[in-house]
Amino acid sequence: MTQAPGTLPESWRVQLPVFEGPLDLLLQLVRVNKVEIAQIEVAVICDQFHEYLELMEEMNLDIAAEYIYEAAMLIHLKSKMLLPRPRTEDGEPAEDPREELVKRLLEYRRLKDASHSLAEIHSMRVGVWTRRPQPMPNAEQPEALELDEVSLFDLLQAFREVLVRYDHDHPEPYLMSRETFSVREQFERLLKELEGGKPFDLLADLGQRRSRGEIVAAFLAVLEAARMHLIRLHQSEGGELVLYRTTKELQRHELEAVQV
């Protein structure tokens, strides 16, 4: 039995209804065709299901994987329905291929109806207010949970909370040194580079720093060292800024005075 296109309600073309998933759509198709679930005509429903997906495509809506999966199931079922049904060993006809689908739809409809009753109760019950918790003498903190009600979810949320707070209070030292650069570190690096009286091209060195923060720290370190007369600055004819180490010894208290 082939079904002419356009068997979906005309209004669907104007405004595509939104379903809570493929089963919800199937249920609606059963309703549109005015048949009982148990009497579902797979070929018709299958075609209409695809028609709906095509409409979704036309409207550039994303089709969730679940719909595609269910569509494939329907095609499979439709082909099974066309084949003669095998017989079991006793000579009885084998199970109707639709049986599982019918069962799922009946169960889904039953639960969907129940969800409508819950929705009704919900909308009435949101109007019920209790007293706002207040600090009580000798009572536990208001956010305390009834022990019976504490579940794995709460345990995990609590653990996550601890870890997040811990990380916040103890930022990793590696990140620290990358983000805020210590002038003293740069200062020490600078003096080390100048050991042995090698000429040192300041601009070239600054160009090798990895971030603006590090450049600033390195430059401040140069100014510090110059102030302490540990280095001398020279500008070459080519415009390079060259540093030399002086003979002055670095005093421990001087190093400690440099900003970390």
């Binding site: 109707d96 009946l106 969800s115 929705a119 109007g127 019920v128």
Partner: protein
């Protein structure tokens, strides 16, 4: 020996202050064991008085295995206006369907819910867990060890139920599979 009037006053005060349902036994424990019967009667008298005052702002209800004082639902609008609360917890249809599945088929796992609704339930489950309407109550010892879900005491409180037996009954459909001869079936046999 406690005066009956004092008992009623004590229950009223304790119930008034509480923001969640209190178990009858716990309330009655406030008094000496020898007075338990009298205390029970006093508690009933208080509850009855609250329930009887139909035109008042507050009333008593029995939910989740306990008793509590709550406002009448009709006054929601005033409370919302006064406390400037907009949009109190709306539940999406997806959340309600999933909640119904957990409520009626608990204990149930994520994959089972997926099978029943035809939709991946993780986002909705998270919403329901956050609202404390459902909880994880362990794992099923099958492949993948999925979490097992149940409804909570909060669920009972919110829906005004004493226990799960109070859920509206599921509709039993008369449709049984294959009860009527069916066109398509006969087509198949004709072709064989």
């Amino acid at each position: 020996m406690t005066e009956r009037a004092d008992m009623e006053a004590a229950f009223e005060a304790v119930l008034f202050v509480a923001s969640e349902p209190l178990k009858r036994e716990k309330l009655i424990e406030l008094f000496d064991q020898s007075e338990a019967e009298e205390a029970g009667a006093a508690l009933d008298a208080v509850l009855e008085r609250y329930r009887a005052q139909a035109d008042r702002g507050i009333s008593a209800e029995e939910v989740a295995g306990g008793v509590r004082i709550v406002t009448r639902p009709e006054l929601h609008g005033y409370l919302r206006r006064f406390y400037e609360i907009t949009g109190r917890s709306k539940l999406s249809m997806a959340a309600l369907e999933t909640l119904a599945i957990v409520a009626y088929r608990q204990p149930i796992t994520g994959p089972e819910i997926h099978e029943l609704r035809g939709v991946q339930p993780s986002g909705v489950l998270k919403t329901l867990l956050d609202k404390r309407l459902i909880k994880i109550s362990g794992r099923r010892q099958v492949v993948g060890k999925p979490f097992v879900y149940r409804t909570t005491r909060e669920f009972l409180m919110h829906f005004g139920l004493q226990d799960l037996k109070d859920l509206p009954p599921l509709e039993e459909f008369e449709e049984t599979f294959g009860s009527e001869p069916d066109r398509q079936l006969s087509l198949d046999t004709a072709g064989s």
